[in-house]
């Protein structure tokens, strides 16, 4: 019962979150994100791993890198989706 309420609440929150989400990643292609990430992200500086930043900060930095690295909007969303999917609970950062 408790779990059910928890799940429903989470789903509701996530559902609401999506529609209000800053970056719409629903059509992002994680596979392409991984490919472009490994083709682009080590060129200018040492690679910054998904664990380096929290999820929220990644949205800002990917917008920043979109401008710096001349990425298309779709590439930016694909890479962001890949980075967020690669984050694990062990990323002991805030």
């Amino acid at each position: 019962m408790k779990n059910l309420i928890k799940i429903t609440a989470t789903l509701l929150l996530l559902g609401g979150l999506n529609s209000a989400s800053a970056m719409d990643l629903s059509k992002a292609d994680i596979g392409n994100g991984a490919a472009v990430w490994s083709d682009v992200c080590m060129r200018c500086h040492n690679v910054r791993l998904p664990e380096d930043l929290n999820k929220r900060a990644w949205e800002y930095s990917m917008n920043h890198m979109r401008i710096r690295a001349g990425l298309t909007g779709q590439e930016t969303r694909d890479i962001l989706a890949f980075i967020l999917a690669s984050k694990t609970k062990d990323d002991a950062h805030n």
Binding site: A20, A22, V40, H45, R48, Y60, R66, I67, G70
Partner: protein, 371 residues
Amino acid sequence: MKNNLKGITLMSFFASTLLSTQLFGANIEQLAQDVELLKANLESNSKSGFQLAGYAAFDYSDKDFSGVKFAPIFHAKYGDIFQFEGELEFNVDSKGETVTELEYAAGTIFLNDYMGLQVGKFMSPVGQFVQNQHPSWINKLPATPVGFGHDGAAPTSNVGVALRGGLPKMGDIRSNYVLFVANASVYGKVEDGAIEGSIDANGRTSSNGAAPTIGGRYAINPVGNMEVGISGSFGQISDVDQSSSTRDYSVFDVDFMYNIDAISLKGEYVQQDIGTSDISSFDTEGGTWAAWYAQASYLFAFAPIEPVIRYSDYHNPELQRNQLALGLNYLFASNLVAKLAFEVNTNEDSAVPSDGLYNEDILRMQLAFGF
């Protein structure tokens, strides 16, 4: 027997209480985690927001603790249609005073997937070093190549508008572009009451009577982690003490970057040309400010140690110099780097007195952190 039974019942009762307490504990922990997650979700559940990044660097050279730099970057955005980025650079100078500079402050409206319209003060889109290698945690050596610092051959920043973005793929090849219109740079720097012939290509909020600068960059990525770019700009430039003394102004640049596993190669050539002016009070001739550098580094697999070698060369109407820099970096993390470097500086122009300024060999150390 009865007592035994009682004992067993009690024991199992205790055990189950213990177990349920444990379960309960785990539940609470799980709940706490979920609450944290929900809190985090709620926190990011807004369209506009703000985030801090930046870098810091501490230098030692020539028997002095020679540099302290703190450069916070502010990012603010509205959804994925608008991004603001601003970098402040704080430095302490040799007199103990704090020097502040607004390195860049620009807002970008993402018009569609291929176009961002940027307004404000942005790093010069010409070339790569100034724009993409200047942060200390990125630059693999403690100092910039000769000619790529402020007042060198490479323009630093612009105030204006830029249209930029990534282009649709051509086969497997990606490419990107920048087009910009900005206020003109200014020629001449007032130093000890006299005017020195140097180009001040830092973004300013006036063209000082000259026509605006129009420029762009186009770059392709023939293979992964490689970029070749060509860029430039043209317009006018006027004298710092006399806005009616306008001249032709143009910039040309080619840049190259390639990362192959542990090897990183970078290079760039930049040239700024200034025309003549009959009415100038300090220099009627104008001339060419040109610089180039080539750099290679290798990150060992057995330890996070990275040797770097860089050669750079700079000449303008008044000087001709070059530098060979050898460095050894220790990467505590990809964004936390300790650097040790030795620079061999050579003044090639015998007409310029060798006051040690461009002839000295320097040992530099730096700790750089990007966040």
